[in-house]
């Protein structure tokens, strides 16, 4: 009985400590589960549903040299800032959203990486991306991980500011090739 009295008399301390603990370890794990942009590839997905952890694990199975981490960042209305979004290396976005992110996309040179026989997204004579999901046929890459809206085409793009394109270490291109091969 005395122990409960003691506990209730200090309720504010227990609550305050729980909050401090959650914030502190949240911050520590933020540091532990992150690394510098030079050593990670970030894939931003704007699809209906995303098995982000499973997809990251699948992509990490064939991690390019020098890359310590592959992060999959699904779109969320609860994102506090767009820093992660703007610093992503790869984007999977639906056709209607392309204009919104257009300025972030890098132009690709033909033959710079293996996109197979997939349809390309061209704008002003430049190749910007490849189709990753075709609404007409219902065929798409990494369908086990990415839930595409059935009546919308999706494309894969590269961030123009990525450190991992052809003139860098090319790691983003290797991850893209792997992504397109995932079931």
């Amino acid at each position: 009985m005395r122990i409960f009295k003691n506990i209730f008399s200090q309720l504010h301390r227990w609550i305050l400590w729980a909050l401090i603990s959650a914030v502190f370890w949240g911050w520590i794990f933020q540091l532990v589960t992150n690394t510098t942009p030079a050593h990670k590839i970030v894939l931003y997905t704007s699809v209906e549903s995303c098995e982000d952890k499973a997809l990251a694990l699948a992509l990490e199975e064939d991690r390019p040299e020098g890359i310590k981490m592959i992060k999959v960042h699904p779109f969320s209305y609860a994102m506090f800032d767009d820093g992660e979004l703007l610093s992503a290396d790869l984007y999977v976005v639906s056709a209607p959203e392309v204009e919104e992110y257009r300025s972030s996309f890098a132009a690709m040179e033909e033959g710079s990486w293996d996109w197979g026989d997939r349809e390309l997204y061209r704008l002003d004579g430049q190749i910007l991306g490849v189709k990753i999901y075709d609404a007409a046929t219902g065929e798409g890459a990494a369908k086990s991980y990415l839930g595409y809206a059935p009546d919308t085409d999706y494309y894969l793009f590269f961030n123009v500011a990525s450190l991992h394109l052809g003139d860098g270490d090319g790691a983003a291109l290797r991850v893209a090739e792997h992504l397109l091969k995932l079931p």
Partner: protein
């Protein structure tokens, strides 16, 4: 029953000092274990288990912290207050009062000090309110409702005996 009883003796001081040392060791051990467990969880983190490990570390740190806070507030600090109080009573010369003792249910907590219980001492002319360390109330139970002699040091009961006792 008519024997006199001192509520504090010099032998209490080393016992309380030992208790303080024990509490301090326990608190450091708990804090160290909690921190070590959280660091271990952070080190075992990978892409597959990051969220679970973070949750486990938060739970571990929260519960460990609660135990540390509880032991500090209700173990270490209480033992320190007890020690200060015992030293104070042993060093303060006492007054002798006589009357009929009643143990009330009124409890008080003095900030940064011990928990106290209020006693009433009626001597036919007036009723005095006396204070006693809550942990020593048990020793006064046999005297409840009886004529007693009380040794009072700094407003606190330090000893008790029968009506004609020589404290």
């Amino acid at each position: 029953m008519e024997t006199t009883q001192k509520l504090y003796s010099p032998a209490d001081l080393p016992r309380l000092e030992k208790k303080i040392k024990r509490e301090r060791t326990l608190i450091w051990a708990l804090a160290g274990l909690t921190l070590a467990a959280c660091i271990l969880l952070a080190c075992l983190t990978n892409t597959a288990n990051a969220e679970e490990m973070e949750l486990a570390a938060i739970v571990c740190s929260t519960v460990g912290g609660w135990l540390v806070i509880y032991r500090r507030l209700f173990g270490l600090l209480e033992a320190r207050y007890e020690l200060q109080h015992a030293r104070y009573l042993l060093e303060t010369p006492g007054d002798i009062l006589r009357g009929r003792l009643s143990i009330t249910k009124e409890r008080l907590r003095i900030k940064n000090s011990i928990r106290i219980r209020i006693l009433l001492l009626e001597d036919g002319e007036q009723t005095r309110r006396l204070k006693v360390n809550e942990t020593r109330v048990k020793a006064l139970r046999p005297w409840d409702g009886r004529q007693v002699t009380v040794e009072l040091a700094g407003g606190y009961v330090a000893g008790i005996g029968g009506a004609d006792a020589d404290l």
